[in-house]
Amino acid sequence: MSLRLFILRRLLYMLPTMILVSIAVFSILQLIPGNPVDALLSITADEETRKATIKEFGFDLPLPLQYVRWVSRAVRGDLGRSILLTKPVSTIIGECLPRTIYLAVGGMFIAVCLSFPLGIFAAVKRKTWVDYSAQVTALVGLSLPAFWVALMLMLFIGLKLGWLPVVGYTAPTQNFLGFLHHLILPAFTLGLELIGVQTRMTRSTMIEELNKDYVQTHRSQGLSERRIVGIFTLKNAMIPTLTIVSLRFAALLGGTAVIESIFAYPGIGQMILSAIRTKDYPVVQGGVLILSFTFIFINLVVDILYKWLDPRIKLE
């Protein structure tokens, strides 16, 4: 299959997914118990406001028509207004999403810096103490509750030692050093959460690669293990590993909510979370929709890049 055909097919497959996702997000307001108008307004709202709300959201229209209205507005960037903050949802997302991206990048950076060397050394020195300690680290990483780690970090590094600020956020344009200071603890927690999976994955990919015939050939030719790993295996093992890392990065955008909430980091996860608590449904809908579409889009790009890097891959 040529690359162009592949991209075309992938785009075609994306369409039903996006439609289904948008229907699901649209349904949130319909599925919550009770009347959606009541969900949007406080009990004390008078008849006038009720009528205005019904008109604004088009609740008097049949459902399919409501959906079409909602989608066509969303496509034009109008995701409605926040009930609580009386700001357009798109503005709020525009503020929050970059912060979550910084956090995700930071967390991923820390995770990669720790897990890649660990996984690679574990594979090369298989069945030695290096391997075992890497596996124990991975297992502990998989079993630790991230929010608990966050609390402990806050307690010991933030409160007891006072090295780093415990909560909040500073914009990088305002004060870059302050921005980094605020980012370190949340990003480290996030990175710790990822270490388990990524160390295991790097290790198994690397082992698989080291078992391949070409490695045997090079060994029989007398090439040192160090050179085989340095020149060939590392490079070959990096393609699948980096692919999964980028896919996980996309998932990370939706996985930071807990950490954001603990560190009072005003990202998009925290935004959705507080919107659920305050029943600010337009914000919930907008946030979920944007995150899902970002996720779908990143997946698409990664798939295409993967195919481009390694044309042998067949994708159904």
């Binding site: 289904l20 997000v25 998989l142 079993s143 402990m152 998932a251 899902s292």
Partner: protein, 302 residues
Amino acid sequence: MSAAKNIPLLDDPGWKGSVARFAHRFGMGLVRLSESRIALVGLIITVIVVLIAIFAPVLATHNPIKGDYSSTIAPPSRQHLLGTDNLGRDIWSRLVYGARNAVLVGITVVPAGMLMGIFLGAIPGFYGGRLDNLMMRFVDAWLAFPGLILFLALLAVLGQGLWQTIVALILGGTPGLVRLTRGLVLAERERDYVKAARLLGERNWRILFRQVIPNVSSPLIVVATIRLGGTLLLFAALTFLGLGPPPPAPSWGLMLNEARNLMETAPMVAVYPGLAIFITVLGVNLLGDGLRDVLDPRLAEK
């Protein structure tokens, strides 16, 4: 491995035979599980947690919900093994009762997820066609909600509470298991024994339920167990965020949330529930890894 495989065709032991075969396999599985030291440790931890949950009323020294206002934030003593929290509730008793929620999540989410996998993945996958295609589009859409967002959206709709959280955990974990089961069934469908059974005129649903599903059950159990660790962490995270069972329920995530305000005065209050979660999840993860090594070594490479 080959001994554990089904003997296909013409072998119809009836339900008694099926039960006997299942019991035999289960017993053999336990024997082999105990050979792996990792799995044994995991099994022991898991069993201890389950026992604690069952015997919580015996093990608890105090009422986990009613506090004693005369001794708040008390240090560990003979009366309060791990001390008390800001409302004077005995932390040890709350921890013990908290194990019940974790066990409840385990015994509901894992079997429910496997059933969903079989009904929504294996059956459409085996028959193929339009239904299968449609199901996959739904799975794609379901998987397009990244990370925690799916659970948050589900809880926004379902509301907050213990059962709502469990339903959200089941629904949220379904698409992954559906896709996995379908993939396994698709691979199994092309095997010779299925073709042979077809040639002999065996009915499709009998092939599916008597041959194919038993043969994919090992990897399914392994994956369901491995995922349980993550599910327990997720449950704890959601309760921590206040989306799970409402206070004053004794739940580990909730205890951590309440301990946040005591961080400076009584940091140990925040240490115990976290340790309980960590040890439980570690046990389940070890058990899952051990099960994988015993039941389906192929999965280890993935």
